[in-house]
């Protein structure tokens, strides 16, 4: 297909053309990561497809198809849906606070018939869409620093507060960081950023002491000295580090990771899947996986920067920020560089909800790529 063909009016709206515009290299990398996840699920179940590997791959296939479908959805539809999705997410978050089911002492789930919904996951997408939508109509002058920024700040703080109350510290941090990253990308003044960073650092110690629940505080404090408490809270970190370190350069071999096979690793199929991988495939395997994650982030950011609409740019970059935060927080946690906060490794970890969120997000990213030349109607700074 020549460039001249694409410039023909209406040509870009043909489905087959859109299909070809999807970044298939990006999709291949996602498949590789999810495949590696399936491989590890297979290994830790004692070379069995059940209970984790088969559902993991099946879900990925399903959500991958959903992502392709979403990639074909016109960016203007995304634009129009931005505020409603955000509002639905907000309502559900309030609902979960009132009616939600608690799991492990935290209220995170909402049952709608047979489907269990975790509203905080909807909010991850909703917030990215809403902020992108809002910034789309904002001048760069206002984005730098003005009273108009009160709106995105509130957009961020309300869901963060609700999620933190559940309590789900990991997701709250993730949502807050994603929102912050989007404001930075939107053009927030460097001076304000500097003040914000310093303020945040100063706020951490009192927050740890007064706001956090005791178990949350324990997690953070033991993260700093895991060896002091090898059988209590520090146990997870220590065992994870042992799994990683004992993998060495080449790993113990597929299916031979003793730390995971003998249950020394906690949450081995979900939050600590990376440690399992590290144990069995060593430094080489880990490095390859980190490289693939880096590639995903790089490609997604490139897609964001090629979009002609500010909504598309910020939306794709916001999703990428969420994804990068997942990877970095989980990686740091598994390697003993951050407290245990319950953030999974996207695409590797077992669990449908996060995979769905990530792939819907990448649906947006792909839609931004497919529709990179689409003009999105500008609405200046108005919410509706």
């Amino acid at each position: 297909m020549t460039v001249s063909a694409l410039t023909r009016p209406g040509e870009r709206d043909r489905l087959i053309v859109k299909f070809g515009e999807i970044d298939w290299t990006f999709c291949l990398v996602l498949c590789l990561l999810a495949g590696a996840g399936g491989l590890m699920q297979f290994s830790i179940a004692g070379s069995s497809w059940t209970p984790w590997a088969a559902p993991h791959l099946l879900r990925f296939g399903l959500f991958f198809a959903l992502m392709i479908g979403l990639a074909l959805v016109d960016l203007r539809v995304w634009f129009a849906a931005a505020y409603p999705v955000y509002l639905v997410g907000l309502v559900l978050l309030v609902a979960v606070d009132v009616f939600g089911h608690s799991a492990l002492g935290a209220q995170r789930w909402l049952s709608l018939g047979p489907i269990r919904i975790q509203p905080s996951e909807i909010m991850k997408i909703g917030l990215v869409l809403a902020i992108a939508r809002y910034y789309h109509g904002l001048s760069s002058e206002s984005a730098r620093f003005s009273w108009r920024l009160i709106v995105p700040v509130l957009m961020i703080l309300i869901p963060v507060g609700l999620v933190a109350k559940q309590p789900d510290l990991g997701t709250a941090v993730l949502i807050a960081a994603t929102g912050g990253a989007m404001m930075v990308l939107g053009g927030l003044s460097m001076r304000v950023i500097a003040v914000g960073v310093v303020g945040a650092i100063c706020a951490i110690p009192p927050a740890i002491l007064f706001i956090l629940k005791p178990y949350q505080r324990d997690r953070i404090l033991t993260f700093m000295h895991p060896e002091h408490d090898p059988s209590g809270v520090g146990y997870h970190i220590l065992q994870s580090k042992i799994a990683l370190g004992s993998g060495g350069l080449l790993g113990k071999g597929f299916g031979l990771g003793t730390q995971s096979q003998l249950n020394f690793l906690p949450e081995k199929q979900t939050d600590f899947i990376f440690a399992t991988l590290a144990e069995e495939f060593g430094f080489i395997g880990c490095f390859s996986i980190l490289f693939l994650y880096g590639a995903v982030i790089f490609m997604a950011l490139r897609i964001a920067s090629t979009s002609h609409s500010h909504f598309g740019r910020l939306g794709a970059a916001g999703v990428t920020a969420t994804f990068a935060l997942y990877v970095l927080i989980n990686g740091a946690m598994v390697m003993g560089m951050a407290p245990v906060v319950g953030v999974p490794m996207p695409l590797l970890s077992y669990g449908g909800t996060v995979m769905l969120t990530v792939l819907i997000g990448f649906g947006l990213v792909q839609s931004v790529r497919v529709h990179r030349y689409t003009e999105v109607t500008s609405g200046k700074g108005s919410l509706l």
Binding site: A181, H310, L328
Partner: protein
């Protein structure tokens, strides 16, 4: 849209800022990934070995494999202490949700009364977590399999097979070998800050008495380890036999004791209380060392019930006490050969005579001979044979206490022998030096009163010896040359222990030794000897030499009779006998003490000595050869009434305790008079 130029420039500026910020964000993400990669490098490449070690220690566990305890054998290889398989039941608190319910369920499966159950609950609650408590030992196969079948209903309960100590002869060796029993807290404390892990192993038994205690570390061995793969909950996933470390069995200990002689000795003691020690008088090996009555050491291995222990501890004949080593007695007339030796060494002419008229007045009182009518004119030889008190009163007075003490020490009294087991008492050999040292607080009593010497001469007074020392004395005299030391442990783990004849010579003139031996030969073989009939072995020309003795345990008032059957057991005299055989070429020496055995060493001591001596002699192939060659059997009629008559008949003549100490006799301890034979 109405002002395209402004709109576009605005858009362009936003895009420019965004692109720059995207680079920033990409950079931050890249930095983060690099940091992760760096940490990976540190953990997986630089510190990999450390974590590999940690991983292995997670993965593998070692289960302690207790070593088999070393056997204890007699001199001929007869097993005295061994191990047998034992089905036992362990309970550990860690796995149990509700200890009490589980134990209640258990009590329905195996016999367990309420008090035991209560004690068990307390034990389990007190034990450290994960450390199993032994609930029951020695289950029958039926009980063992019943518990195994119900295992799912009994979390934390395991039935397994261990080893338990067994003493095939029950009580015959209880005081020598001792026994093993549960490890007490004190045992663990004694082991220091880093105790042998075996001590904490359930079912482990530690030596508590005798050889088992003294040689515990030799017998214990070194534990091995069974390597196994475990999961995070500590469940065994797989065994790894290639990684096992075998245990080192405990060393085998061979005693100098002969099981046949020991058993015979305990047998002849019957219900009596006392001790028999026999030694090989050629090399000092202890052939038997019995303390009677004894107890079944196997009971202690299992754990004694409170009532059982109380019964043993409070019985008046003291079965738990090792009388051979710990019991101290006045040697009575068995001391007379020692006094005779002292006199000979002091230059007393053995042929000079002393007239015994049944009593001797000296120092304001009358010193009586056991024979009311007296023995008449006595040489030293006669005096030993007849056990004449008057002769030895006077001889002791003549030579004084220190030469007697010197001879007594040379014969082995007044010292503790290192025979490898604890529990010996030294006894007392009085002398002027001893008197001084013993009465520091009472200077008036520090001098030796001449009135003490006559009593000393007949083995009474402050003199105190134990049965082992009596046997050593007899062995040294029979050996005639060496100051033999007793040896109980022949070898440990195949390493021969130093023999008892690696000792200096006796400081006595050989003629004098032969003379005293001759006296003892007469005791047993002259028809007029005090133990003639009781000492006939019936083994042809293999004959025994001996010396009787009676140790007085109280002062007698004038009314009570000493030899009446009506006298309460506890108030009767101790009955002693020392002997060696064959008298022409001595091999075996024996000492017998029968507590409260009654008057006269011949009645209770000599017949027992004879029986044990016969066992020893008949086991000796050279002696048996000699007996079968002998044609001239002893004349059955040679036994004569005088010697056969029980010695105690005239014993009522025993003198009273000094009624009037006068200026010659000291304040207490006063010689309580004679009683000797």
């Amino acid at each position: 849209m109405s002002e395209p130029s402004i709109f576009f420039s605005e858009v362009n500026e936003r895009q420019g800022v965004f692109t720059r910020r995207t680079f920033l964000m990409g950079g931050v993400a890249g930095l983060g990934l690099t940091a992760l990669g760096g940490q990976l490098l540190r953990l997986q490449v630089i510190e990999a070995q450390r974590y590999q070690k940690l991983s292995a220690s997670n993965q593998f566990n070692f289960r302690l494999v207790p070593p088999p305890r070393g056997l204890i054998l007699d001199r001929n290889g007869v097993i005295l202490a061994a191990n047998r398989p034992n089905f036992r039941l362990l309970v550990s608190r860690d796995e149990m949700d509700d200890v009490n319910t589980t134990l209640d369920n258990l009590a329905k499966l195996v016999p367990m009364d309420a008090t035991r159950l209560a004690r068990l609950k307390k034990d389990v609650a007190r034990a450290p977590k994960k450390s199993p408590v032994s609930v029951m030992e020695d289950m029958t196969w039926e009980e063992f399999s019943r518990v195994n079948i119900r295992a799912p209903e009994l979390p934390g309960v395991t039935a397994d097979m261990g080893e338990v100590r067994v003493y095939p002869f029950g009580g015959a060796f209880a005081h020598v070998i001792g026994y093993v029993a549960k490890v007490s807290e004190a045992d663990v404390k004694k082991a220091g800050p880093d105790p042998d892990p075996l001590l904490l192993n359930p079912g482990f038994r530690i030596g508590k008495q005798g050889v088992e205690k003294a040689r515990d570390l030799d017998l214990r061995g070194k534990p091995g380890a069974q390597k196994m793969e475990v999961d995070a909950e500590g469940r065994v996933v797989r065994l790894d036999p290639l990684g096992d470390k075998p245990s080192t069995p405990g060393k085998e200990i061979r005693l100098s004791i002969d099981a046949d002689i020991q058993n015979r000795a305990l047998e002849v003691m019957g219900e009596e209380s006392g001790s028999i020690v026999m030694m090989d008088c050629r090399n000092g090996d202890i052939l038997c060392m019995v303390s009677a009555p004894s107890f079944d050491a196997n009971r202690f291995v299992k754990g004694l019930s409170g009532a059982e222990y109380k019964a043993l501890a409070t019985y008046e004949r003291l079965p738990l006490l090792d009388k051979a080593q710990y019991g101290l007695y006045p040697p009575g007339s068995t001391f007379k050969p020692t006094v005779a030796m002292a006199a000979l060494e002091a230059g007393v002419d053995p042929e000079s005579r002393v007239n015994c008229g049944g009593g001797w007045t000296w120092g304001g009182r009358t010193w009586r001979c056991w024979k009311k009518g007296g023995h008449g004119s006595q040489t030293m030889h006669d005096a030993i044979k007849n056990s004449c008190d008057i002769y030895f009163y006077q001889t002791a007075l003549k030579i004084g206490p220190d030469p007697i003490a010197k001879a007594a020490l040379a014969f082995g009294y007044g010292q503790i022998y290192d025979i490898g087991i604890p529990g010996q008492r030294k006894g007392i050999v009085p002398s002027t030096a001893w008197k001084k040292a013993a009465n520091v607080k009472n200077p008036a009593n520090q001098i030796w009163f001449p009135g003490e010497s006559p009593s000393y001469g007949i083995g009474q007074g402050a003199l105190q010896v134990n049965a082992l020392q009596l046997a050593v004395m007899c062995s040294r005299l029979a050996n005639g040359k060496k100051a033999l030391n007793p040896r109980l442990i022949k070898s440990i783990g195949g390493v021969e222990q130093p023999p008892g004849d690696a000792a200096p010579d006796l400081p006595f003139t050989p003629e004098h030794i032969a003379y005293v031996q001759g006296g003892m030969k007469a005791v047993a073989n002259d028809t007029s000897g005090t133990a003639y009939r009781q000492s006939q072995l019936g083994l042809g020309d293999v004959m025994m030499a001996g010396k009787t003795g009676t140790a007085q345990v109280r002062s007698y008032d004038k009314v009570a009779s000493r030899n009446s059957a009506s006298v309460q057991w506890k108030l009767k005299d101790h009955n002693l006998y020392i002997a060696f055989a064959p008298y022409d070429a001595p091999r075996y020496a024996i000492a017998v003490i029968v507590e409260h055995g009654g008057l006269g060493g011949a009645t209770a001591g000599a017949p027992r000595a004879r029986e044990v001596m016969r066992t020893a002699l008949l086991k000796d192939p050279e002696i048996r050869a000699r007996i079968t060659q002998t044609t001239n059997l002893p004349d059955a009629n040679a036994g004569d009434v005088e010697g056969a008559a029980p010695e105690g008949v005239d014993a009522a003549a025993a003198p009273d305790a000094p009624i009037n100490p006068g200026d010659l006799t000291p304040p207490p301890p006063a010689p309580t008079g004679d009683s000797p034979r």
